[in-house]
């Protein structure tokens, strides 16, 4: 048993001893955490938050245990002062899964509970706005349930049998009675169907009295999904009073690519290239998180060798630099500095992409990490190239970018005091990454719960204290500088040797159990929750996407601001829609 699990066990026993009536340890094979009855959930959670300091609800998801006729809601809690994760689970009957909503205790649960309702059909009693979030209102069924089948449902699991040895290329469209990847529920009549026009979103526009003599009208402004400032296909419906935002509803799901459903059909190894497409700026970080999670499941034999550990850290930190460069560029785009700052940051990004292309083979979709290491060693001369980049080029460029933008009066005026998130709000809203740290909470998983070899490096946790747009902009500079520090130490310390602990494999003998792995991605905590039932394919595969959960705080940040600042605030959170919608 290593150090980390010991600490965790002591945490769990502490909870067990304190609340013996409420919790029981989860004793299924390969499972950790504590089970709680849904009736005691709220009491337990409020005690955990207020008495034991578990104030940050990192992840909330559901699992459909079809053979046991059970639904399970899984909560991952951490202390914002650091330490390992506490896992709480509650089991519900599958026929009528109703759990109490945690939105009152942890506002950050709002979107995650909506997602669990949308995809798994778990109701949350007391949720103020339990609507679908990724699919549209009126969609038939809850797609992540194990007995729900999609239109192109051929075979349950990959690899499909019709590919070999008698495979004939054909389009799957031919199999579907309704063609084009749609399936209608039984008894559906298109003539009587009334489409949901999303009236609810636009219910504003009512007359009301602002003060005694001025009668005004509220105006609903819709931004997106096709809008140049929403970083993709994101939509915000803002209710305005004059120019002031009084209500805001983020609408997402326009890029919902069924990552989790497809992930449950894939084998474990097949998911690796799919994770590239989550946050498509940071494919290396995504790979990192997934590899760590599955390595937790696989156990000791899959610990990556030293050299691989260093390569992993180097690539993940390069990704962070790249992502923050782009975040700064796009943020300036949003402020109206159209394309010149982005042009300069894209230029630097290309240099890092050259490295990725030479190392992994693709500019964006790297697919470079494997369970137990990385797929191949760095090509010849690459170490020298990276050394030059991190010692000479990047420090110079970040200083130049600093001179270029940081003192710019327009950036300061647009950013300072706008979209403020206080530390308490940020923690409550489950924000992570730069958004959390810009609010004055020095929480960085690389320090709070170190993974891989981050405990060897000397670096500071970047933190800013105002929690406004300007600080969220500045913290990206700080993080780039810290990343460069890590990169310099890593490139100096990289040893020679193997890069893969085991033989190349595409099938792994997966033990039964569950694992939650997390890394500090450039956008925040990127977590993977994987449940294995001992077969080649994961039973449940959930991604805790930082962009998605950071958006929970968007409304809080925007209330009371001017409509023009919406764009700046959204830009400062730095979302990627591939990750928001998955």
């Amino acid at each position: 048993m290593n150090e980390e699990t010991k600490v965790l066990e002591s945490f769990e026993t502490a909870v067990l001893e304190r609340f013996p009536d409420w919790v029981t340890p989860d004793e299924r094979e390969g499972y950790q955490g504590l089970l709680v009855d849904p009736a005691n959930l709220i009491d337990l959670m409020s005690s955990l938050r207020d008495e034991l300091g578990y104030d940050h609800l990192t992840s909330l998801t559901g699992v459909d245990y079809l053979p046991d006729e059970k639904m399970e809601v899984v909560y991952h809690l951490v202390k914002s002062t650091g330490g390992p994760i506490l896992e709480i689970k509650t089991q519900l009957p599958r026929s009528n899964p109703v759990a109490p909503s945690l939105v009152g205790l942890y506002p950050g649960a709002a979107f995650q509970e909506r997602e669990a309702w949308d995809l798994l059909g778990i109701k949350f009693d007391g949720h103020p706005n339990l609507k679908r979030i990724l699919m549209w209102e009126g969609f038939a069924g809850h797609p992540l349930r194990k007995d729900w089948v999609e239109a192109y449902h051929g075979e349950e699991k990959k690899p499909y049998d019709d590919r070999w040895p008698e495979g004939k290329a054909r389009k799957i469209e031919a199999d579907n009675p309704y063609r084009e990847n749609v399936s209608y529920p039984e008894g559906f009549n298109p003539e009587t169907w009334i489409p949901d026009t999303q009236e609810l979103l636009f219910e504003g526009s009512q007359r009301f009295q602002l003060d005694d003599d001025l009668e005004t009208e509220q105006l609903v402004v819709n931004l997106g999904p096709q809008h140049p400032s929403t970083h993709g296909v994101f939509r915000m419906v803002a209710k305005l009073e004059g120019e002031t935002v009084v209500d805001l509803e983020p609408v997402m799901g326009y890029l919902h690519r069924n990552h989790e459903k497809i992930g449950e059909k894939n084998t474990f190894a097949m998911n690796m290239p799919y994770t590239d497409r989550l946050d498509y700026f940071c494919s290396m970080s995504n790979n990192f998180g997934y590899a760590l999670t599955v390595e937790k499941l696989l156990g000791e034999n899959y610990q990556p060798p030293e050299r691989a550990q260093y390569i992993r850290v180097i690539m993940a930190e390069l990704t962070r630099v790249l992502n923050h460069f782009m975040a700064i560029g796009f943020f300036l785009n949003d402020l109206g500095a159209y394309f010149t700052p982005a042009l300069y940051t894209i230029k630097e990004r290309e240099l890092i992409l050259d490295i990725f292309e030479a190392v992994a083979g693709s500019r964006m979709m790297c697919n470079y990490y494997r369970f137990g290491g990385v797929v191949r060693d760095l090509p010849e001369g690459m170490e020298e190239h990276i050394r030059k980049l991190v010692y000479e080029r990047l420090p110079r460029q970040i200083d130049e970018l600093d001179r270029y933008l940081v003192e710019n009066e327009i950036v300061v005026a647009r950013g300072r005091g706008v979209g403020v998130l206080t530390p308490e709000q940020a923690i409550g809203l489950s924000a992570a990454g730069p958004v959390l740290r810009a609010s004055g909470v020095p929480y960085d998983i690389r320090r709070a719960d170190p993974y891989s070899i981050y405990d060897r490096f000397d670096f500071d946790v970047a933190v800013r204290y105002h929690g406004d747009v300007y600080d969220r902009f500045l913290i990206r500079y700080d993080e780039i500088r810290q990343s460069i520090r890590i990169l310099q130490q890593a490139i100096d310390g990289i040893p020679k040797g193997e890069v893969l602990a085991n033989k190349k494999a595409y099938k792994y003998k997966m033990p039964k159990g569950e694992a939650y792995g997390r890394v500090e991605g450039p956008k925040g905590e990127l977590g993977y929750y994987v449940v294995s039932d001992g077969t080649d394919n994961p039973w449940r595969y959930h991604v805790r996407a930082p962009s998605f959960i950071n958006l929970t705080g968007l409304k809080q940040m925007c209330l009371g601001e001017k409509v023009a600042d919406l764009v700046a605030i959204l830009g400062s959170i730095d979302i990627v829609l591939g990750e928001v919608d998955r």
Binding site: P159, K168, A169, N266, P273, D276, V375, E409, Y506
Partner: protein
Amino acid sequence: MKGFGIIKGLGVTLKHIYDTYAEDIKAGRKRYYTKEGVLQRRTTDTKGIFTVNYPEERLAVPENFRFVPFLVYEDEDGEKVPRCTACGICSKVCPSQCIWITRAVDQETGKPLKTPAEFYIDIDLCMNCGYCAEHCPFDAIKMDHDYELANYDRTQNNIHDKERLLKPASYYAEIRPGYYAMEQKAKAEEEAKRAARRRPRE
């Protein structure tokens, strides 16, 4: 002072403009339309902004670069002999399941042969992940460097059949010289080992 920050920023822009043109003038004609020029421009020392004038000059892709897969064949007296043995591993590891293989069957005995009768890759599904090439035990399927695949009709062009997929081993050696040499060496060693093992028995 108000406005100083903006002026400082504009100074950086000015420096970029200066760098770009100064580099161009200093380097003269060498900088453009030559391989060395492109290579020099993409190093970490490069200053200013530069453009690759595609299609006149191209950014060379590194050896590891991967686009859609192709099949390697050995040219034996003008006959294309694919290295593929129709073992089906690539179609099993493929995350998007875009590979279809029909194994050839001996017409007389009905026994399966170690060669594909048909081989399809639907590049509308392919995610260029490189798993097929990584796991192929016979070095038969490799990732291509040719990215110029744009076309007017996907039904005609985007399902690559065996004919389209087969490319000679010499082409493979050209795009991935390092890997080709490594694999040839490994093969030769294996061959030598096998020969050594056979000899004592005789």
